[in-house]
């Protein structure tokens, strides 16, 4: 279900995707974060211009919105993005406590123009040892101790 307001914010995300691509900042991806009608942050793909492979539109918008608010939680906010989020950006939305995501282009459409997130999506559910990036679990007593120290920490921030 989308409202007229949803479509306006989504159109802004799409406009950003086009503008910033034309300015050669990166691929055609834009994002806008809105809560109760207020725009909290905007982002666009800056991967090539900033040499930062994590500078996707959604991650950038989340970072800007949190920076502007001084809060690591965006609970209640909607993320409008010109394209379906990749696995990295989807998870960043969970960590930011985003409440809803609205997107225009799909991951298949992104793959058709050379941005293939489908491969990474396929890797997500695999057991770590079976991924294209080999991952090995090496338990150490020190690492377990770090978690125990966190549990025992009296002034830890809960979120």
């Amino acid at each position: 279900m989308t409202t007229q307001d949803d479509l306006l914010h989504l159109a802004r995300a799409v406009a950003l995707s086009r503008e910033r691509m034309e300015a050669n900042l990166g691929g055609p991806f834009g994002a806008v974060i809105v809560r109760e009608g207020r725009v909290l942050g905007e982002g666009w793909n800056e991967v090539t211009s900033s040499n930062d492979p994590t500078a996707h539109a959604e991650v950038t918008a989340i970072r800007k919105a949190c920076g502007a608010l001084g809060d690591f939680s965006l609970a209640g906010a909607t993320l409008y993005t010109s394209c379906e989020p990749c696995p990295m950006c989807l998870a960043s939305a969970y960590w930011a406590r985003i409440s809803r995501i609205v997107y225009a282009n799909t991951r298949d459409e992104a793959a058709a123009i050379g941005f293939d997130d489908a491969f990474i999506y396929d890797e997500m559910p695999k057991p770590p040892g079976e991924r294209a990036i080999p991952m090995d679990h090496v338990p150490t007593p020190e690492a377990a101790a770090a978690f125990a120290a966190w549990m025992a920490k009296p002034d830890k921030i809960e979120y």
């Binding site: 159109a11 492979p53 994590t54 949190c66 690591f72 696995p87 969970y94 406590r97 991952m135 090995d136």
Partner: protein
Amino acid sequence: MSFDSKDRGFLKRAVDIAFEHMRSGEGRPFGAVLVLNGKPLAEGWNSVFASKDPTAHAELMAIRRACKVLGHGDLSGSVLYASGEPCPMCLGAMFLAGVSRCYYATTRQEASRIGAQTEAIYAEYLKENPEERAIPCIHAPMAEASAAFDEWLAKAD
């Protein structure tokens, strides 16, 4: 799996970083070291609380710093040592950056026990229908969005 004393040293360093920055109150206890050709390239730690940035995970920060050091976004051949199993966000970033291998000391299940949502977020990727996720993802096709993709394809540079 080959895991020698050098590997153990880097993993130990990742854990030391986790301790250090947890104690200073910057974030939850997670640290990471990125190594290229046997040499540490960058370190990262969870600084979510200090920076008010929910994406400031140890692995993501190490990746961003490493790319800055190298002046490009390709970390092919690098090895990531993480005190905790990377979450889907950091794993996605590892794929985007081309990290070649990863060693980690604690699992997503252990992270759940200290209140981190890594395990729960991984479970979200098993849902077939994006609208049924804990964060509903709604598809609203838009002609202008398709046009932006067409323009990318036609772009000469």
